[in-house]
Symmetry: C2
Subunit: 154 residues, 2 copies
Protein backbone atom coordinates (compact mmCIF):
# COMPACT_ATOMS: atom_id res chain seq x y z
CA UNK A 1 0.00 0.00 0.00
CA UNK A 2 1.60 3.29 -0.97
CA UNK A 3 1.32 6.45 1.08
CA UNK A 4 -1.55 7.73 -1.08
CA UNK A 5 -3.73 4.75 -0.17
CA UNK A 6 -2.57 4.84 3.45
CA UNK A 7 -3.82 8.43 3.59
CA UNK A 8 -7.24 7.39 2.29
CA UNK A 9 -7.42 4.47 4.70
CA UNK A 10 -6.69 6.88 7.54
CA UNK A 11 -9.28 9.33 6.22
CA UNK A 12 -11.97 6.65 6.07
CA UNK A 13 -11.34 5.54 9.65
CA UNK A 14 -11.34 9.18 10.84
CA UNK A 15 -14.62 9.79 9.00
CA UNK A 16 -16.32 6.74 10.49
CA UNK A 17 -15.16 7.65 14.00
CA UNK A 18 -16.40 11.21 13.51
CA UNK A 19 -19.79 10.01 12.26
CA UNK A 20 -20.15 7.63 15.15
CA UNK A 21 -19.72 10.43 17.70
CA UNK A 22 -22.68 12.19 16.05
CA UNK A 23 -24.84 9.07 16.00
CA UNK A 24 -27.78 8.38 18.26
CA UNK A 25 -27.12 7.10 21.76
CA UNK A 26 -29.78 4.73 23.02
CA UNK A 27 -29.36 3.23 26.48
CA UNK A 28 -31.70 0.65 27.95
CA UNK A 29 -33.31 -2.62 26.91
CA UNK A 30 -33.72 -2.93 23.14
CA UNK A 31 -37.41 -3.74 23.67
CA UNK A 32 -38.07 -0.49 25.53
CA UNK A 33 -36.01 1.54 23.05
CA UNK A 34 -37.88 -0.04 20.12
CA UNK A 35 -41.29 0.80 21.63
CA UNK A 36 -40.24 4.42 22.17
CA UNK A 37 -38.82 4.69 18.63
CA UNK A 38 -42.06 3.26 17.22
CA UNK A 39 -44.08 5.72 19.32
CA UNK A 40 -41.97 8.62 18.02
CA UNK A 41 -42.75 7.60 14.43
CA UNK A 42 -46.44 7.09 15.25
CA UNK A 43 -46.58 10.57 16.75
CA UNK A 44 -45.44 12.13 13.45
CA UNK A 45 -47.83 9.87 11.51
CA UNK A 46 -50.85 10.82 13.67
CA UNK A 47 -49.94 14.52 13.46
CA UNK A 48 -49.57 14.53 9.66
CA UNK A 49 -52.77 12.52 9.12
CA UNK A 50 -54.79 14.65 11.56
CA UNK A 51 -55.53 11.73 13.91
CA UNK A 52 -55.56 14.00 16.96
CA UNK A 53 -57.30 11.60 19.31
CA UNK A 54 -54.61 8.98 18.65
CA UNK A 55 -51.97 11.70 18.91
CA UNK A 56 -53.27 12.64 22.36
CA UNK A 57 -53.14 8.98 23.40
CA UNK A 58 -49.36 9.06 22.90
CA UNK A 59 -49.45 10.97 26.22
CA UNK A 60 -49.99 9.67 29.74
CA UNK A 61 -53.38 10.67 31.21
CA UNK A 62 -51.40 13.13 33.37
CA UNK A 63 -49.16 14.12 30.47
CA UNK A 64 -48.12 17.74 30.02
CA UNK A 65 -47.03 19.80 27.04
CA UNK A 66 -45.10 23.08 27.21
CA UNK A 67 -45.91 25.03 24.00
CA UNK A 68 -44.25 28.41 23.47
CA UNK A 69 -46.55 31.28 24.36
CA UNK A 70 -48.74 29.22 26.67
CA UNK A 71 -48.94 27.89 30.21
CA UNK A 72 -48.23 24.19 30.80
CA UNK A 73 -51.18 22.22 29.33
CA UNK A 74 -52.17 19.03 31.14
CA UNK A 75 -54.29 15.98 30.30
CA UNK A 76 -54.96 14.18 27.01
CA UNK A 77 -58.16 16.13 26.26
CA UNK A 78 -56.50 19.56 26.58
CA UNK A 79 -53.42 18.29 24.75
CA UNK A 80 -55.59 17.05 21.87
CA UNK A 81 -57.20 20.50 21.50
CA UNK A 82 -53.80 22.19 21.43
CA UNK A 83 -52.43 19.96 18.64
CA UNK A 84 -55.38 20.44 16.27
CA UNK A 85 -54.25 22.61 13.37
CA UNK A 86 -56.56 25.04 11.53
CA UNK A 87 -58.78 23.47 8.88
CA UNK A 88 -57.11 25.34 6.04
CA UNK A 89 -53.52 24.30 6.75
CA UNK A 90 -51.89 20.88 6.65
CA UNK A 91 -48.73 19.40 8.15
CA UNK A 92 -47.21 17.63 5.14
CA UNK A 93 -43.90 16.64 6.76
CA UNK A 94 -43.01 15.90 10.37
CA UNK A 95 -39.82 14.10 11.40
CA UNK A 96 -38.47 13.60 14.92
CA UNK A 97 -34.77 12.71 15.19
CA UNK A 98 -33.84 11.58 18.69
CA UNK A 99 -30.18 12.05 19.66
CA UNK A 100 -30.27 10.29 23.01
CA UNK A 101 -32.81 8.02 24.69
CA UNK A 102 -31.99 6.74 28.15
CA UNK A 103 -34.22 4.29 30.02
CA UNK A 104 -34.25 4.89 33.78
CA UNK A 105 -36.30 1.92 35.03
CA UNK A 106 -39.94 2.94 34.35
CA UNK A 107 -39.04 6.41 33.09
CA UNK A 108 -36.89 7.56 30.19
CA UNK A 109 -35.57 10.83 28.88
CA UNK A 110 -35.25 11.53 25.18
CA UNK A 111 -33.93 14.61 23.41
CA UNK A 112 -33.22 15.60 19.84
CA UNK A 113 -34.43 17.64 16.92
CA UNK A 114 -37.75 17.83 15.04
CA UNK A 115 -38.59 19.39 11.72
CA UNK A 116 -41.54 19.74 9.45
CA UNK A 117 -43.32 21.51 6.64
CA UNK A 118 -46.72 23.20 6.72
CA UNK A 119 -48.87 23.65 3.60
CA UNK A 120 -50.60 27.00 4.00
CA UNK A 121 -54.07 28.01 2.78
CA UNK A 122 -52.55 30.05 -0.07
CA UNK A 123 -50.74 26.97 -1.41
CA UNK A 124 -47.27 27.95 -0.23
CA UNK A 125 -45.26 25.89 2.24
CA UNK A 126 -43.24 26.88 5.26
CA UNK A 127 -40.65 24.68 6.97
CA UNK A 128 -39.52 24.77 10.57
CA UNK A 129 -37.02 23.05 12.82
CA UNK A 130 -36.64 22.80 16.57
CA UNK A 131 -35.37 20.76 19.44
CA UNK A 132 -37.15 18.91 22.22
CA UNK A 133 -36.88 17.05 25.51
CA UNK A 134 -39.40 14.33 26.41
CA UNK A 135 -39.86 12.41 29.66
CA UNK A 136 -41.45 9.02 28.96
CA UNK A 137 -43.27 6.84 31.49
CA UNK A 138 -43.76 3.10 31.26
CA UNK A 139 -47.42 2.21 31.82
CA UNK A 140 -47.83 -1.56 31.73
CA UNK A 141 -46.06 -2.67 28.54
CA UNK A 142 -46.53 0.72 26.88
CA UNK A 143 -44.46 3.91 26.99
CA UNK A 144 -46.37 7.20 27.23
CA UNK A 145 -45.18 10.80 27.07
CA UNK A 146 -45.30 12.46 30.49
CA UNK A 147 -43.50 15.77 29.76
CA UNK A 148 -43.05 17.23 26.26
CA UNK A 149 -41.23 20.54 25.78
CA UNK A 150 -39.74 22.03 22.64
CA UNK A 151 -38.70 25.29 21.02
CA UNK A 152 -37.75 26.51 17.56
CA UNK A 153 -34.23 26.89 16.21
CA UNK A 154 -35.05 29.80 13.90
Amino acid sequence: MNSFFRFFAFLSVALVLNLSTKAQKYQGSQKDIDIILTNIDSFSHFYMSGQYKKLSECYSSSGKIFPSGSDIIEGTENIEKKWIVQDDIKIIRHVISPIEIKILDDHAYDYGYYEGTTLLANGTTTSWKGKYVIIWRKEGEEWKIYLDIWNRID
Copy 2:
Protein backbone atom coordinates in the same frame (compact mmCIF):
# COMPACT_ATOMS: atom_id res chain seq x y z
CA MET B 1 -71.43 26.49 65.72
CA ASN B 2 -74.09 28.15 63.58
CA SER B 3 -74.49 27.61 59.85
CA PHE B 4 -72.53 30.77 59.10
CA PHE B 5 -69.44 29.42 60.86
CA ARG B 6 -69.96 25.94 59.46
CA PHE B 7 -69.85 27.50 56.00
CA PHE B 8 -66.52 29.20 56.78
CA ALA B 9 -65.11 26.00 58.25
CA PHE B 10 -66.07 24.18 55.04
CA LEU B 11 -64.59 26.98 52.94
CA SER B 12 -61.28 26.83 54.83
CA VAL B 13 -60.95 23.07 54.35
CA ALA B 14 -61.85 23.40 50.66
CA LEU B 15 -59.26 26.15 50.25
CA VAL B 16 -56.50 24.15 51.92
CA LEU B 17 -57.29 21.07 49.82
CA ASN B 18 -57.28 23.18 46.67
CA LEU B 19 -53.94 24.79 47.55
CA SER B 20 -52.38 21.43 48.32
CA THR B 21 -53.23 20.09 44.85
CA LYS B 22 -51.29 23.03 43.39
CA ALA B 23 -48.33 22.53 45.73
CA GLN B 24 -44.96 21.16 44.72
CA LYS B 25 -44.49 17.43 44.41
CA TYR B 26 -41.02 16.27 45.37
CA GLN B 27 -40.25 12.56 45.19
CA GLY B 28 -36.95 11.06 46.32
CA SER B 29 -34.65 11.23 49.32
CA GLN B 30 -34.91 14.53 51.19
CA LYS B 31 -31.14 14.91 50.94
CA ASP B 32 -31.18 14.74 47.12
CA ILE B 33 -34.22 17.03 46.88
CA ASP B 34 -32.58 19.57 49.21
CA ILE B 35 -29.38 19.64 47.11
CA ILE B 36 -31.39 20.21 43.92
CA LEU B 37 -33.51 22.96 45.55
CA THR B 38 -30.32 24.65 46.80
CA ASN B 39 -28.81 24.39 43.30
CA ILE B 40 -31.94 25.95 41.79
CA ASP B 41 -31.61 28.94 44.15
CA SER B 42 -27.87 29.19 43.47
CA PHE B 43 -28.53 29.24 39.74
CA SER B 44 -30.73 32.35 40.09
CA HIS B 45 -28.19 33.93 42.46
CA PHE B 46 -25.27 33.38 40.06
CA TYR B 47 -27.33 34.66 37.12
CA MET B 48 -28.43 37.86 38.89
CA SER B 49 -24.93 38.58 40.26
CA GLY B 50 -23.24 37.90 36.91
CA GLN B 51 -21.16 34.98 38.23
CA TYR B 52 -21.24 33.19 34.88
CA LYS B 53 -18.39 30.78 35.59
CA LYS B 54 -20.21 29.53 38.69
CA LEU B 55 -23.46 29.49 36.72
CA SER B 56 -21.87 27.26 34.09
CA GLU B 57 -20.62 24.93 36.84
CA CYS B 58 -24.25 24.19 37.74
CA TYR B 59 -24.11 22.05 34.57
CA SER B 60 -22.50 18.67 34.01
CA SER B 61 -19.37 18.83 31.81
CA SER B 62 -21.55 17.27 29.07
CA GLY B 63 -24.55 19.45 29.98
CA LYS B 64 -26.73 20.86 27.22
CA ILE B 65 -28.98 23.92 26.98
CA PHE B 66 -31.78 24.39 24.43
CA PRO B 67 -32.26 28.16 24.03
CA SER B 68 -35.00 29.39 21.67
CA GLY B 69 -33.60 30.41 18.30
CA SER B 70 -30.45 28.31 18.62
CA ASP B 71 -29.14 24.79 18.16
CA ILE B 72 -28.50 22.67 21.24
CA ILE B 73 -25.44 24.14 23.03
CA GLU B 74 -23.15 21.67 24.80
CA GLY B 75 -20.39 21.92 27.40
CA THR B 76 -19.86 24.30 30.32
CA GLU B 77 -17.65 26.71 28.32
CA ASN B 78 -20.21 27.20 25.54
CA ILE B 79 -23.04 27.36 28.07
CA GLU B 80 -21.21 30.06 30.03
CA LYS B 81 -20.86 32.21 26.87
CA LYS B 82 -24.57 31.84 26.10
CA TRP B 83 -25.70 32.99 29.55
CA ILE B 84 -23.58 36.17 29.61
CA VAL B 85 -25.89 39.17 29.26
CA GLN B 86 -24.88 42.40 27.52
CA ASP B 87 -22.84 44.82 29.64
CA ASP B 88 -25.57 47.48 29.62
CA ILE B 89 -28.44 45.35 30.92
CA LYS B 90 -28.89 43.62 34.27
CA ILE B 91 -31.04 40.75 35.52
CA ILE B 92 -32.50 42.23 38.71
CA ARG B 93 -34.93 39.40 39.50
CA HIS B 94 -34.81 35.68 38.69
CA VAL B 95 -36.99 33.11 40.43
CA ILE B 96 -37.37 29.42 39.55
CA SER B 97 -40.48 27.68 40.95
CA PRO B 98 -40.28 23.91 40.53
CA ILE B 99 -43.63 22.09 40.42
CA GLU B 100 -42.34 18.54 40.43
CA ILE B 101 -38.92 17.01 41.14
CA LYS B 102 -38.59 13.25 40.87
CA ILE B 103 -35.37 11.42 41.72
CA LEU B 104 -34.78 8.38 39.48
CA ASP B 105 -31.70 6.82 41.10
CA ASP B 106 -28.75 8.94 39.81
CA HIS B 107 -30.95 11.07 37.54
CA ALA B 108 -33.88 13.35 38.25
CA TYR B 109 -36.41 15.31 36.26
CA ASP B 110 -37.67 18.68 37.37
CA TYR B 111 -40.21 20.98 35.76
CA GLY B 112 -41.89 24.23 36.64
CA TYR B 113 -42.00 27.94 35.94
CA TYR B 114 -39.37 30.69 35.96
CA GLU B 115 -39.73 34.43 35.92
CA GLY B 116 -37.55 37.48 36.05
CA THR B 117 -37.02 41.15 35.42
CA THR B 118 -34.38 42.80 33.25
CA LEU B 119 -33.16 46.35 33.84
CA LEU B 120 -32.53 47.83 30.39
CA ALA B 121 -29.86 50.38 29.38
CA ASN B 122 -32.49 53.15 29.20
CA GLY B 123 -33.46 52.60 32.84
CA THR B 124 -36.77 50.84 32.14
CA THR B 125 -37.49 47.27 33.20
CA THR B 126 -39.08 44.35 31.39
CA SER B 127 -40.46 41.23 33.03
CA TRP B 128 -40.80 37.75 31.57
CA LYS B 129 -42.14 34.37 32.56
CA GLY B 130 -41.66 30.89 31.16
CA LYS B 131 -41.61 27.20 31.90
CA TYR B 132 -38.82 24.65 31.90
CA VAL B 133 -37.83 20.99 32.10
CA ILE B 134 -34.46 19.99 33.57
CA ILE B 135 -32.77 16.58 33.68
CA TRP B 136 -30.37 16.42 36.63
CA ARG B 137 -27.47 13.96 37.02
CA LYS B 138 -25.90 12.91 40.30
CA GLU B 139 -22.10 13.23 40.08
CA GLY B 140 -20.55 12.04 43.33
CA GLU B 141 -22.47 13.82 46.10
CA GLU B 142 -23.43 16.70 43.79
CA TRP B 143 -26.35 17.14 41.37
CA LYS B 144 -25.56 18.77 38.01
CA ILE B 145 -27.85 19.90 35.18
CA TYR B 146 -27.58 17.59 32.17
CA LEU B 147 -30.44 18.90 29.98
CA ASP B 148 -32.01 22.35 30.38
CA ILE B 149 -34.84 23.44 28.07
CA TRP B 150 -37.33 26.28 28.50
CA ASN B 151 -39.64 28.59 26.59
CA ARG B 152 -41.59 31.75 27.28
CA ILE B 153 -45.26 31.98 28.26
CA ASP B 154 -45.84 35.34 26.56
